[in-house]
């Protein structure tokens, strides 16, 4: 266990591969969206999703950005990250194959529209919808 880093510990907590996916999301945000004001939107508990999708575990992995229950309504952020699961049954088969969907502000985003926890449209913010395997 000596030298085991934090990411490895997180994978031990959830050995199903979900942690690896979230760590990949973190790297994407760090490398591709460095100039954006990012917030992660998550319900505290979503009964349709596994526990690792809820806000407590998301914030443990995505430590660089705030994980908020009201991110879409908060003005100071211009890129909102949403987590969508292939297990939720809310995605089409084509969407489920993608790693993520990027929805610019003003455009319809099926991820947002189908996520029951959030408002139905994104009027002034970009949305990054991360597809969890």
């Amino acid at each position: 266990m000596v030298g085991q880093d934090r990411d490895e510990q997180l994978k031990v907590l959830h050995p199903t591969g979900e942690m690896a996916s979230l760590i990949e999301l973190r790297e994407l945000l760090r490398t591709r969206f460095t100039d954006r004001k990012i917030a992660v939107s998550a319900p505290y508990r979503d009964q349709y999703l596994p526990q690792s999708h809820d806000a407590t575990i998301l914030r443990a992995v995505l430590t660089d950005w705030p994980v908020l229950t009201n991110a879409l309504q908060t003005e100071e952020y211009d890129l909102i990250v949403l987590i969508e699961s292939t297990q939720s049954g809310r995605l089409s088969s084509a969407q489920a194959q993608a790693k993520y969907m990027y929805c610019p502000a003003g455009e319809a985003c099926s991820c947002v529209e189908q996520n029951s926890q959030e408002p139905k449209t994104n009027l002034d913010k970009d949305i990054l919808c991360w597809i969890m395997p």
Binding site: M1, D5, Q9, R59
Partner: protein
């Protein structure tokens, strides 16, 4: 490796500061050395916690702690260079044994050292340790204040309760590590374990007793589980252990003991969840100390000024701590902006309206007793302490007091269960897994009293050795 070097430097600074405090408190010799790190860790933790609550930016708190630590360390090094200590005093006399007991002794000692190395370097893989305690530490190190913690869960009461119902003390210590770039922040507790082992070695002169203590601490299943909860449960458990060690240490008396206990108690108080009733014991201890300080009640001439000053010395810090913690919760509650949550706070009597459930459910009592006596992880320790109490015929009033204290704690566990069922009658059996943390003080108590009582009867490795120090 740089991580660990930095951590050791920071911890050495804390120990140096604590060494000076131990000197001020009047501790002597090995005790000054053994209690240096716990005192340094406690005082820096307490001050940092207060400053952080006062919204002082973490960068200033962290810089101050490093500066104070390095200055203390430089002072100690300067003094040691100026007047080197007599290392002969530290020479440890090992027991002289026959081949069989010698082999057993060295195997036991070697195993314990290996277990200690493994434990002090293990990483926590328990949910709350990483997702709550460690995460909060990372954010504090990033500069988050209390206000930032409640801002994330506007209109979300459950989120609020998760973060704020768990005490912040461990996260404050870890934040020092994270800010210094040390990811394995549980290393800060390793100094505490080492201090406790040294202190136990000073209190108990017999090698048999020392090995029994170390085995109960490091080589039993319930204890090992606590060690994997390095952020949430381990420091809390270690501080209760320290309280009992100071208590049974007959060489620490009067003002030195009280000074050490004040600090340790304050920190232990800050690591208690309000829903766990053991903090009541600390309040009772404080009241008892104040009572004892009133000379007129002991038939002596009253010195009211002295009583007033010393009373304030004991009562004000504890009130300040309780008030501050309530203040944090109240502030957070007001910001959550859910009026309903106020009635669900820890301080509303409404939550106990289900108390009649206990009276209406006869099965509850058998379930509660089963939980306390068998499912309770400290049960084997409490049983061992009871057996030792029955075997060792002691006339010591202190031992009897400790025994009754243990029984009182089991009663307190019952109170905890009553609180649990009254607040959540549908899920209380499920939530009884929280007994883990609740029973840690009982485990610490049982380890110390069992070891203390064993010294009077057991001497497998001590033939012909009066003193090993």
């Amino acid at each position: 490796m740089l991580d660990y070097a930095l951590a050791i430097l920071f911890m050495s600074g804390l120990a140096s500061l604590g060494f000076g405090m131990a000197w001020l408190f009047g501790l002597r010799g090995g005790r000054r050395l053994a209690l240096a790190y716990p005192l340094g860790l406690s005082s820096v933790g307490l001050v940092a916690w207060g400053m952080w609550l006062a919204e002082i930016p973490w960068i200033y708190i962290w810089t101050t702690a490093w500066l104070v630590g390095l200055l203390s360390l430089s002072f100690i090094v300067f003094k040691l260079t100026d007047r080197p200590p007599d290392l002969a005093v530290l020479k440890i006399r090992l027991p002289s044994l026959n081949i069989f007991t010698s082999l057993l002794f060295w195997l036991s000692l070697g195993s314990l050292i290996l277990i200690l190395v493994w434990l002090t370097t293990i990483q926590p893989i328990v949910w709350d340790s990483l997702v709550l305690y460690d995460w909060r530490a990372i954010k504090i190190a990033d500069g988050w204040q209390v206000s930032d913690f409640y801002r994330q869960f506007v209109q979300n009461y459950e989120f609020y309760t998760y973060d704020f119902s768990h005490p912040f003390m461990s996260s404050i210590w870890q934040a020092f590590m994270h800010k210094s770039g040390i990811e394995s922040s549980s290393v800060i507790h390793s100094g505490l374990i080492l201090s406790i082992l040294i202190y136990a070695g000073i209190i108990w002169k017999s090698w048999t007793t020392r090995l029994i203590f170390a085995s109960l601490l490091l080589a039993t299943e319930p204890s090992l589980t606590v060690f994997t909860q390095a952020y949430s449960s381990l420091p809390y458990f270690l501080y209760w252990l320290l309280i009992f060690l100071v208590w049974v240490d007959s060489q620490i008396k009067s003002s030195a003991q009280k000074s050490v206990l004040i600090l340790i108690f304050l920190i232990t108080l800050l690591m208690n969840r309000l829903s766990e009733p053991f903090w009541i014991l600390i309040i009772l201890f404080w009241l008892w100390e104040v009572w004892k300080m009133c000379p007129n009640m002991r038939g002596q001439k009253p010195k009211w000024l002295s009583v007033l000053i010393r009373g304030c010395l004991f009562v004000i810090p504890i009130l300040a701590v309780v008030w501050q913690w309530q203040n944090v919760q109240a502030t957070a509650l007001s910001q959550v902006e859910i009026m309903d949550s106020v009635s669900r706070s820890s301080y509303s009597l409404d939550r106990y309206e289900n108390i009649s459930v206990i009276l209406q459910t006869p099965l509850w009592w058998s379930q509660a007793i089963w939980l306390i006596l068998f499912k309770n992880p400290s049960a084997p320790y409490a049983l061992l302490a009871l057996v030792m109490f029955l075997i060792v015929k002691t006339k010591s009033g202190q031992d009897k007091r400790l025994f009754w204290l243990g029984l009182g704690w089991l009663a307190m566990l019952l109170i905890a269960l009553i609180m649990e069922i009254t607040t959540d009658p549908e899920n209380w059996l499920l939530k009884s897994r929280l007994l883990w943390r609740v029973t840690l003080p009982i485990m610490a108590w049982a380890i110390v009293v069992t070891t203390n009582w064993s010294e009077k009867r057991l001497s497998w490795f001590d033939q012909g050795n009066d003193s090993d120090e």
